[in-house]
Every structure is written in C-alpha cells, then in structure tokens.
C-alpha cells in the first residue's frame, strides 16, 4: 500500500509541477534588451520555486503567504523602476512591466502585493514626498522591512474618488484624520499607509499614516472569492493625529493618487498577459495530452479554434504592452493610453481563462490546474484600479473631448 501511495504522490506532484513556458508568437523578445530577458527569467524562476508550489493551498485557505514579501523584496520586485539610492532597482518601465507579467503568471494576488508596494506606496513617496520622507521610508519599503498600502477608495466612493469624505483638520503641528477606506490590498499587514484625504479647503492631500498611531485600525475583509492569496482590508481613522511632517508636500490635488494609479494600471496591463499566458500554456499542453475518441483533443477543430484565438489575443496584448512600455520609457504614455491597455488586456485574460477552462473539461474547475484561480482573480483585476467601464469612458472622453462621467 505504501508503495502505491508513494507512486500516487509522485504522479500527483508531477502533475502539479509548474511546466510553464513563455509564449512569444511574434518574436517580441527581439525588441527587448538583455536586462529585460534576464529580469523575466529571474522572476519566472523565483515564481516557479517559491509561488507555484504553495499558491493553490494558500488560495484555497484564503490565506496570504506573507513570507513572500521578503522574497519579493530580495529579487527586487518592489519599485524596480525607482532609483537605486531610494531602494529601487534603477530599471526602466519595460522591465517593471515584465516583472509584473511574471508575478501575475504565478498569481494576480502576488502581483498585487508588489504593485501596491511599488506603484502605490513607494512611487508617491518618491514623487511627492520630501527628501526626509524619501530617506525615511523608501529603503525600508524596497527591502520589505516595511509593508505599505494605499488608501483612496472609500465605502461610498469607488469610481468617483473626488467625492471622498475622509478629511484632515488642522490642529497646530498635526492634522486630525477622520474617515474610512475600503478594498485596501495589504492593509491588515501594512506598517505604513499612503492615505488620500481632503483638507479644510477641499484639496486632496496625501498623508503617511503609520501603524500604531492612535485611532488607526485595519480590519480585514473576509469572504472574497478572488485574490484569495492576497490580504485585503479597510483603513479606519478615528481622530488620528498625523504630524504635519507626514504630509506629502509636493501635491495637493486628485492628480496625485491618479498618477499612482496610472503606474499601477500600466503594470496591470502587463500582469494580465502573465495570467493569460499561464492559462493558455496549460490548455495547450492539456489539449495534446488529453485523449478522447482515440486522439488528442487538440486535434479537434473546436479546440484548435479556442487555442488559435487565445494566442492571437495574447499576441495582440503583448504588442500593446510592448508599445506602451516603449512610450512609458520615454515618459510619453498618457493615462488614456494606459486605460486602453489595462482594459483590453484584462478582458483578454478573462476570456482566455474561460476558454482555457473549457479545454480542461472537468479538470479545469479543480486546483490541479491554475485556471479557476486565475479566472476568479481576474474578476478583481477587471474591477480594481478603474473598472472595465470607467476605462472605456476614459477612452471615450479622450477621443471626443466630452466627459461622460458627470
């Protein structure tokens, strides 16, 4: 019996082995630099050794693998495009996108951990913070000693952040912060939060709130059927006294948080390709191994249609991301261009996940394969950082010059 169990275990662990290979149908690799290819390979190796073996278990239990924060820091996934002297990696935006792609190939939740830390916490402190704030927080965030989170969305203000009610009242050398933020990735484990709130003049200010400040709490949100391996919570502020030196001095408008979201959305437009490639890769392999009617199901036209459409859509998304990365490297990527790529690529990934699920048949709904996990994750990704519909309206406003939001 032991022998049989051992055999079964070997077979099962073999099936769970991460056999992912990248897909580059249009030889886009030729457009990348050595450092991009090396970064991709390094993160892919890290994901295969650290994420793939544990991710299904954590997702099933809805538990965050917090030990991975340290590993993400060590490989340099936090703020890779920020300067080295501030704890970043000194890389370009293309490299940042590629790193996000590889992380999300593992799991959207793991990518979210890194996106938030880099684009939503380190970036605003770097961009809008004082030199003192940069020196105090960025190296610790880059090394993973501090975990950060970003507070913009509120229970009653999601797509309409300008309606926020979280507020700051002047109290001499400090501000008194009141209000609540919702759907905050990393909040229950965060050491610092970059929080956006209105001052008494109605201007949106960014403040750095530290764990331990009186009146500040971070309750966890339970019952998510998506991003289950990433921890999400609220930020609650009850008369929190935030010293004035914790206010980001160089921004006083909604442009601040929106510029951070542009960075993160850019990363998501790459990340979604990772999730899509993982689903496609698994479906392609399964279609060659699964025999029905005495032949691999990949030989049937309807399976080929699905696979051919998947790789076509992935290739289009890759070209979009590559071009956006080229523009971002020159500082020319507009928020509207980023919206288009985020919207297109996330929807593409969702469709690929659903088609891949069908190719896997019944096995596609189990945790033996990554498909359902990616599909459920992507339901968050299509909604957070600007919903699918809002991004469409951003494109609409950009091309017509007419605002359909209000």
């Amino acid at each position: 019996m032991d022998v049989i169990n051992e055999k079964v275990n070997t077979i099962t662990s073999k099936a769970k082995e991460d056999r992912f290979q990248g897909h580059d149908y249009y030889q886009i690799d030729e457009l990348l630099q050595d450092e991009h290819l090396l970064a991709r390979e390094a993160v892919r190796e890290w994901v295969k050794s650290e994420v793939s073996p544990i991710i299904e278990q954590y997702a099933e239990k809805s538990k965050c693998p917090t030990h991975l924060f340290k590993g993400l820091a060590e490989i340099g996934a936090f703020g890779p495009s920020l300067p080295v002297e501030y704890g970043g990696g000194g890389m370009d935006e293309m490299a940042y996108g590629i790193i996000m792609q590889e992380l999300e190939r593992g799991d959207s939740g793991i990518r979210s951990m890194a996106s938030v830390q880099g684009s939503l916490v380190m970036y605003p402190i770097y961009k809008y913070g004082s030199e003192e704030q940069r020196r105090k927080y960025l190296p610790k965030l880059g090394s993973g000693e501090f975990i950060g989170c970003f507070g913009l969305t509120e229970p009653d203000h999601g797509s309409n952040p300008s309606g926020m009610t979280t507020n700051l009242k002047d109290d001499g050398d400090a501000y008194i912060l009141n209000g609540a933020k919702m759907w905050i990735t990393n909040s229950p484990v965060a050491d610092v939060a970059v929080v956006w709130a209105k001052d008494e003049e109605g201007k949106v200010r960014g403040v750095i709130v530290e764990r331990g400040m009186k009146g500040f709490s971070t309750p966890e949100i339970h019952g998510k059927w998506s991003l289950r391996a990433s921890v999400t919570g609220e930020l609650v502020f009850e008369d929190v006294r935030v010293p004035k030196y914790n206010v980001l001095p160089n921004i006083a408008s909604l442009r601040g948080p929106l510029s951070c979201l542009s960075k993160a959305r850019y990363g998501i437009s790459w990340g979604a390709i990772g999730a899509a490639m993982d689903c496609y890769d698994s479906a392609l392999r399964y279609s060659k191994e699964r025999i029905q009617f005495d032949r691999p199901i990949g030989q049937f036209q309807l399976t080929q249609k699905k696979l051919a459409e998947m790789i076509t859509e992935i290739t289009k998304a890759q070209l979009l991301a590559w071009r956006l990365g080229t523009l971002a490297n020159k500082g020319k990527a507009t928020p509207a261009q980023i919206s288009m790529a985020k919207r297109n690529n996330v929807e593409m990934a969702l469709k690929v996940a659903r088609e891949a699920r069908q190719i896997h048949g019944g096995m596609g709904i189990t945790s033996e394969y990554p498909i359902m996990r990616h599909m459920m994750n992507l339901e968050s990704v299509v909604t957070y950082e600007g919903t699918h519909d809002v991004h469409l309206l951003i494109t609409g406003m950009d091309i017509t010059g007419l605002n359909a939001f209000a």
């Binding site: 056999r19 050595d34 450092e35 090396l38 390979e41 996934a77 990696g89 000194g90 890389m91």
Partner: protein, 246 residues
Amino acid sequence: MKILVCISQVPDTTAKISFKEGNTVFNTDGVQFIMNPYDEWYALVRALEIKESQGGSVTVINVGPAENETVIRKALAIGADDAIRVNAVSSSALFIAKQIAEVAKAAQYDIVFTGKETINFNRSEVGAMIAEYLDQPYISYATHLDLQGKTATIVREIEGGSETLEVDTPFVISAAKGLAEQRIPNMKGIMTAKKKTLKVVEPIAFDDISFPVRYELPPSKAGVKLLDADNMEELVRLLHEEAKAI
C-alpha cells in the same frame, strides 16, 4: 582566490530536440537557451561563496558566439566580477578546452570550475582536458569543497558512495549537485551586470581531431497497454514475450 568558472549555453530542458543537415547538426530553430545548470547552480555559486568568504575574484568564461552574451550577463548578474567570451562556434570539447586553457594559462587562476557535464552533449570532458593542458590536478563530480589556505578538502561522488580527498591550488574541479544552492539573480544584480566588463577574445588556431558523424533521437516511447485485472495469463505472456521483463 582568483577563480575562473567555465559556463556553457545549453538548450532549455523543455526544448524540442531535432537535427538538420543529415542529422549532423543540432537544429536551434525555436529553441530557448539557458546556462548549463551544473555551471550555474553549483560551480558559479560555490565560486562566489569562496570569494565572499576569502576575498578574490570570479571570472566567467564562455566559448561561443555573440548570442551567448545573455547567458554570460546572467552569470554577471548572479555575482561574477567580469567575463570573457572566446568568439568561436564549436561543440568540440577539445577545441573548447584548448581555448579556455589558453586564457587560463595567461591569467594564472587558483581554481578553475566547470559543471560536471553539460546537459546537451553530456560528455564531462572539458574539465579534464583543461586540467591536462594546464598540467594541474583534476577533481570531478565534486559535491563538497572546503578551503583552508591553499589546501582544499573535496568530497566527490563515486558509484554507491563518496570519496574525500585533499588537493592544493591550483586545480580544476567539476561541480555536481550538492556543491552549492542555486541563486536567482535580483534586479540590482541584473542592472550592475550591465556595467561589468565582458571581454571578447578571438580563438587561437586549432585543428580539431574528432567530428560528429550523425545524431539520433532515442526511439519514441511505446504506448501503454491496459489489461483486465483478472487477465493474468495475457499479462505474463506480454511481460515475457514483448517486454522481455520475465
């Protein structure tokens, strides 16, 4: 310690293997290449550990075309100080060993590392040939290496057990699993690698003495036959006549 690590570029383990030109040349179309794992995970990392504990330098060397530079940069990203590429295309162990030995002779390394074999041609020859050209001791299949001053204590794999031996530098050593643990380069390492020196040298003239005649793929695996559990007679017949296992 002044250390040289020989690195080779090999097809990814998942690559589809085929040959062309009458089965005499490996077909590289659509093949992704990686650093030979024995060179990367064990030889290079152990060399770096020695440098980190005792000081010195780690140089990596590759005999190959310019396309191999991505793999060389990876070695630099993992932590090698500088790199040399001998600009030649060859799969001949003797040719490669000769070129590396020429570089090593001039630079006088304390230790030259190779992997125990490359995962494409599996010859395990280059290390021994370099040692011969340098007139130095060669220790193959090393799973453990300790250094006290100039004296190294090395454990090597042998059939069914291990052998421990001592040797003074300079020597050539081939690395097996266990000698070190894989290091994944981080983003800072990748960016630093861009600034490190990668020297390209031309090969010395050398007439090879062996040439591949042809390559053959192993026969494809036969399908699985399923029998009813109670059909013992047929099972015994198949095991005896077809599988020749009993």
